[in-house]
Each structure stands twice: as structure tokens, then as C-alpha cells.
Symmetry: C2
Subunit: 286 residues, 2 copies
């Protein structure tokens, strides 16, 4: 776990880490940003959707008067590849406590024309100005201590070993949701893990956009293999995460008509529900 | 209940009902539609967000090559008023099985300039082409028979009696989530009801966009009163609803920092989960 794995001096910090460098954008003109999508966040050959969401989220944090994503809705159009991309943003509304923006990520086809990969609508605010009232019935996920959970480095890779993203993440899966990796899926649409960044960088609102889409698909525990492409993903960031590893719990209740929903909860080390997300994904039934 | 309340001949049908007339748009030019927002779907003076979502959903059903909303993400910018509005749509991507579009609803300020009310991103498809596989762990909500539930017409209006929308809906609330109306909120963030259209029109994918945002706020059962404006609402339509009344169950687990989520499930008379939604809303704590 990060606490154990890093002497304080060796840990990356927010603003100076792999995640920050790989989501950094260059402003071409007001509202338009260039980025080279890193091959370090790919699963097999596809760029992770959470990493892409963080890239778009960072662009909007620059373009909007508010810095923190409160709710981000993304519709995934075509598969992104590592390499050059441009993000075009549009300020929809600037309010006192909330502002709303739109952003699209484009890449280029053979003849250089832009192809849209993702479009997002998002409302931003300032998490630090929110009252600290909490009335919640939500409970942190039941997940064993991090040292009793398993990651790709713990033997026969439960997460695809050919995925570069596994080297960027501290991902320790709950053994109770690892049956799929041993050929014995539980049949329950659940996936739980401890989550952090491999270089020890603590979580912030932007990295929460990555955290909600970084676990193996719940479909694996439903006995399905293969690709589960996201159609739409909406994230709510509910408060600024405390330092330390996150716990992510993902649940699928309804697989029907070749689609399923994945509901994710992200909890911080202070036992606060820091983010909620839901995505609609397609499944290729075998 | 609609079955009992209407002789077949008296029941409105899909395509010829209050809901269809009040969401009907006039195409001004390709992708641009005019509508007069009906005062019949207001809560106090505000136009219901679900009705507005259905208006935008109908515009996109016309503008896109696919007719059924699969996932619709709406960000609410300013409060809509009954009266003239224009919907501007944009086809983002046309695919074989899914197409994605964007739509904005505008009204006019004193000097006639357009003010954006809502912006949506949505992916559409054809529900009738989906395989009928279902692997679900979701259970229909525990809700008493419709004749044991209560609506505004059943005495001291549990739903604000000054809301025109109550005359358009068949809304029968589970007594277990009616404590707020009797000054004894349960403290649980739950709201459940039988839902239909008052003229007996059966549900379709567009009316599901209304159903997910038509119940009283769960905040009432948390002991809060006052306005709970929606910031963002995303709906997934999972299958075409069967004829007959719907059951809608809404849950709030986390009220924090002046915001809460409302998760809605809509079940049809065939016990199928036909829609799921989640919204982020602001609460004014008393």
C-alpha cells in the first residue's frame, strides 16, 4: 500500500506525477487544447475511458471559472488511440456557485480530418465552499485489508498483464470478486478494489474521474469475457478526497438486451463517499 | 388504477394524449423545433424537469436516425417557464446500432434574446432490435397494491395541490414514504409510487423520461422542505415498457455538502426494469 511502499520523499505529489504529466494539456488558443494521449493508460490497445475523462476534466477545469468537477456526463463515440488529440471546450453557463461547460476530444484520421472520440457535458464548482453537513445512509464497502487483496503483480495476472495501465495503478482486488481470474466467476455483478496511483500520488477530484472506470468489468464476475465498451458514463464528485488509498466498489444489477449498468462508489481514507458514477456499457454475450 | 378507471374507448393512446400534444414540436428548419411549453406540467410555477426532458427527447427522436432514447444526460442551466421555447439539435454521430445527439432548449428574455434552459447529450437506438437476454439481480420495489396507495385526490394533498402536473398524472404514493405529508418524515431517503398518465395513455420510452422525475423529492422524507433543483439528470431506458401502470422507486443514500443524488428505478407491469436514472440535486437545508 502507498503508505508502506513509499518513503515520503519518494512519493509523487499532486501536480507532479505520472497522472498529472499524462493529462497535461497545451493551450493552443482560448478553449482549445492539444495533448498527446499517453500509451501508459491503455488496456490491451484501447485508451482507458477514465484517463480520457480526466483529460477532458482537466481541460474544463482550465476553461471554466470553477476548478472542481461536480458532475460530468460523457458519451463515448469512437475508440481513442495513444497519440495526438485536441480538446475543444465551450462555456455553456457561468454561475456564481456552479458553471457548466462542454468539451469534445478529437483525434485525426489518415487524411488529418478530426474524428470526435468523446463528448462531455459537465457542471463545475468549488468543493471547498460546500457546507460540511452529511446525512448519509451509505456504508463503505466491505473489503478486506489491502494486504489481503490481490493485484496483477501477485501471481497469475488477474488483470490483463498486457495492459500498460496496470503499471500506473495501485489496484488490489477483493478476493471475493476475483473468481473470474481463477475461472470461477461468482455470478454476482460486483467488483471491489483498493485503488491508488502507482507512484503514490494522492487522489484529487480529477483522479476520481479515473478511479471510477479503472477496475475490471463486473461482467467478468457474471461469467462474461470480452470487451465491454462504455456508451455513457456520468460521475458525481461529492467531496475532495483525503490522502491515502481509495476503496472502489462497482455493482451491476441489470444485464439485459446486451447492455448493463455499472454503478461505482469511491470511498476515501476518512470513510467519506467522495464519488459516485454510473455507466451504460454494451456486452458481447458469449 | 387506469385499468379500472377507463373504459378502453375512453383511454388516451400513445400518439394521441395530453402528454403527446404537450410535447409535440413544430420543425422550423432541419434540427430546429418550436414548442409552446405547457403550463399543465408545472410544480408550483416551475416546469417539471421530466416533462422538459421528454420534450428534448422527442426532438432528438426526430433529428436522429434512431427513435429510442437509450441514455440521456441533461444539465439544467436555468429555470424554464411555460410558454414559447425553441429546441436546437445537433447530430454528433450516426452509427449502425447507436446514434448520438445533442439538444438545447432555449427560451427568450425581455428583449427576445435566447436564454439556454437545458442542454442534453443522448445516445439513441432501437429497443426492438435488442436481444431479450436478461440476467438481473434487481427486484421490483416492495410497494402495496395501487388501491392501498395515496394520491393528491385522496384528501390532504400529499403532493402540492397547487401543482398543475398532479392533474396530468396518476400518482399513487406508497404510504411508507408518505410520512412527510403528515409531518412525520421517515428519515429514510425513499420515495415510491405507482405512476401513470391521468388520461390512461400507456408508457413509452419518451414518457419514461417524465416518470423518473415526477415523484416528490426524497428530501421530504429526510425531513427537508423547500426546493430541490436538479443540476444533472441521466436516464437509461433499458426496454420498451409493457402496457399498464409503472412502479417508480427513488432512493437517496448520500446527502452531503448541500447536494444529494436521487436514484430512480422504473418497473413495468411485466416486472421488468425499464428505466434507471440518477440525478444530482441541490438541497436548501432548513
Amino acid at each position: 500500500m502507498p503508505e508502506a511502499a513509499f518513503a515520503a520523499a519518494d512519493r509523487a505529489v499532486i501536480g507532479d506525477s505520472e497522472f498529472d504529466r499524462d493529462t497535461a494539456l497545451t493551450r493552443r488558443e482560448p478553449g482549445v487544447y492539444d495533448i498527446d494521449l499517453s500509451a501508459g493508460w491503455t488496456i490491451i490497445s484501447a485508451v482507458n475511458g477514465g484517463y480520457l475523462l480526466a483529460v477532458l476534466g482537466r481541460a474544463l477545469a482550465d476553461a471554466l471559472p470553477h476548478a472542481d468537477p461536480f458532475t460530468v456526463s460523457a458519451h463515448y463515440l469512437t475508440a481513442s488511440q495513444p497519440g495526438p488529440a485536441v480538446v475543444r471546450t465551450d462555456v455553456v453557463r457561468s454561475g456564481r456557485s456552479l458553471s457548466t461547460g462542454q468539451a469534445s476530444l478529437f483525434q485525426y484520421d489518415e487524411d488529418g480530418t478530426e474524428v470526435e472520440r468523446i463528448r462531455v457535458l459537465a457542471s463545475y464548482g468549488d468543493l471547498d465552499t460546500l457546507p460540511d453537513d452529511v446525512r448519509t445512509s451509505a456504508k463503505p464497502p466491505a473489503i478486506p485489508p489491502i494486504e489481503q487483496c490481490f493485484g496483477p503483480e501477485d501471481g497469475p495476472a488477474p488483470v490483463s498483464g498486457s495492459s500498460a495501465i496496470t503499471e500506473r495503478l495501485m489496484l488490489k482486488l477483493d478476493p471475493a470478486t476475483l473468481g473470474w481470474a481463477l475461472g470461477q466467476p461468482s455470478g454476482r455483478g460486483e467488483m471491489r478494489a483498493w485503488f491508488g496511483l502507482a507512484d503514490g500520488r494522492d487522489a484529487d477530484p480529477l483522479s476520481l474521474l479515473l478511479a471510477v472506470d479503472a477496475l475490471p468489468p463486473t461482467a467478468f464476475e457474471l461469467g462474461l469475457s470480452g470487451w465491454v465498451p462504455t456508451v455513457e458514463l456520468t460521475v458525481h464528485v461529492r467531496c475532495r478526497p483525503a490522502p491515502g488509498p481509495l476503496r472502489v466498489a462497482i455493482t451491476t444489477r441489470n444485464l439485459a438486451g446486451g447492455f448493463l449498468e455499472e454503478d461505482a462508489e469511491v470511498w476515501d481514507s476518512a470513510d467519506r463517499l467522495v464519488a459516485q458514477s454510473r455507466q451504460l456499457a454494451r456486452v458481447r454475450l458469449r
